[in-house]
Amino acid sequence: MGSLLQVDKLTAGFGLTPVLFDVDLELQPGELVAVIGANGAGKSTLLGALSGLVRLERGSVHFGDRRISGLRPEMIVASGLVHVPQGRRLFSTMTVQRNLLLGAYRRRDGRVQQDLQRILQYFPALADKLDRDAGTLSGGEQQMVAIGRGLMARPRLLMIDEPSLGLAPKVVDRVMEIVKTINQDGTAVLLVEQDVVLALEIANRGYVLENGRIAMSGAAADLRRDPAVRKAYLGV
């Protein structure tokens, strides 16, 4: 099987009540897949379960040729599955450069500095702000640092949770363009996003999560035209 990510019958949550039920999802190398759904549907919990932050009750997650469900988060990162969390979660009193380098914390190869220069090409706005504290940057720039930090781990799959949150419309467009470019350069992306129009515009495929279950999946273009999706998430 050629899948990069294969999720089978995943049930997970917090405490006694699961948030996700029997979720099946797969992603091919190089794909950009969107997960959409209402608030509370379980999108962020899904990313947490994949990155080892939320305990699985049942089901399995395979990444490449390995089973990663049950591994500790740092082992999952080391295997190439990297999570850019909602709300950026930067170290606000550390510099932009140190935040970016922290993404490479587990790497032992000698190409970290080289990668930093390569990654800055995606975010030219950050190049002259490397010495500034991350907390002093605008919301859009902070989101760029968060994505850049994720890239510094050399992911095979980058999971990004709501990059548009709290950003001005023009900046949302810019961040989405960057996500698309990163994907076109070969990194697979699993994107959770409230802006359903934008998400389905840049994605190849999408999954619709409702009350913790996959309600629908398909090509992004088909989901964009689907009457049920339009009514439930676009309000048209």
Binding site: I36, A38, N39, G40, S138, G139, G140, E162, L165, G166, L167, A168, P169, K170, V171, D173, R174, Q194, D195, V196, A232, Y233, L234, G235
Partner: protein, 248 residues
């Protein structure tokens, strides 16, 4: 008589002009939308109005009386209520208890008795659509419900002017519609509103006027539909995709 008048307000943080000579007025019944790029000074402006931040120069008037030297808690009692961008409810309390907090301490006449505060909390929870969830621990609330709670806590103080800082962030299009209904109900109750939002559906759907801040200065002010067609606003803030999608 304007409810609130902001006159020539400026504020610097270090070398940055967060606000530069901003002037506008809020009339009773207005729903004023403040938009602009991230870092344009929108939250600083709300902070100046609620009293959390002191302007370096300029004056703020509440029904023509200067409130520039009035501390935040007294501005709250005068009738200026606000929400915060990052919601911080008391995690160990229920929805109802969290809301009653606002009622307990924000009253014009000083403190309320707990029973009266609970009663007032129940009224505003109905208004924001959280009536059925009033006994929930706040940790059980979804993101849109936490935003509603934030609004309820401010409303429980019985404000005449409500300042909303991005209460629609993170909501999808349908959830935004529901939140718009909530804002319309609040306004129908006679409350004047100033809101910061990046969701243009809100600006068009509920605002009577829009004010665009850019680098701490007023770029444009006027009726929302006109403001969102303005080339300067498209260039600084909305971007070409928005302009294309709305067909201008």
């Amino acid at each position: 008589m304007s409810l609130l008048a902001v006159r020539n307000v400026s504020k610097r943080f270090g070398g940055v002009n967060a606000l530069a000579d901003v002037t506008f007025a809020v009339e009773p019944g207005d729903v004023l939308g403040i938009i602009g790029p991230n870092g344009a000074g929108k939250t600083t402006l709300l902070n100046c109005v609620s009293g959390v931040v002191h302007p370096d120069t300029g004056d703020l008037r509440w029904e023509e009386t200067s409130i520039s030297r009035v501390p935040p808690y007294r501005r709250a009692r005068l009738g200026i209520g606000r929400t915060f961008q990052i919601v911080r409810p008391f995690p160990s309390m229920t929805v109802r208890e969290n809301t009653a907090m606002g009622a307990l301490f924000g009253q014009p006449s000083g403190r309320l008795q707990p029973a009266a505060a609970i009663k007032q909390a129940d009224e505003v929870l109905e208004l924001v659509g959280l009536g059925e969830k009033r006994d929930y621990p706040v940790l059980r609330l979804t993101v849109p419900d936490r935003k509603r709670l934030e609004v309820a806590r401010a409303l429980a103080m019985r404000p005449r002017l409500l300042l909303l800082d991005e209460v629609m962030a993170g909501l999808n299009a349908v959830e935004v519609e529901q939140a718009l209904e909530m804002i319309r109900r609040v306004r129908a109750g006679g409350i004047t509103i100033v809101l910061i939002e990046h969701v243009m559906k809100v600006i068009v759907g509920v605002c009577t006027r829009a004010l665009v801040l850019n680098f701490g200065r007023t770029l444009v002010e006027g009726p929302p539909a006109e403001v969102l067609r303005d080339r300067r606003v498209i260039e600084a803030y909305l971007g070409e995709r928005y302009a294309r999608d709305q067909g201008t």
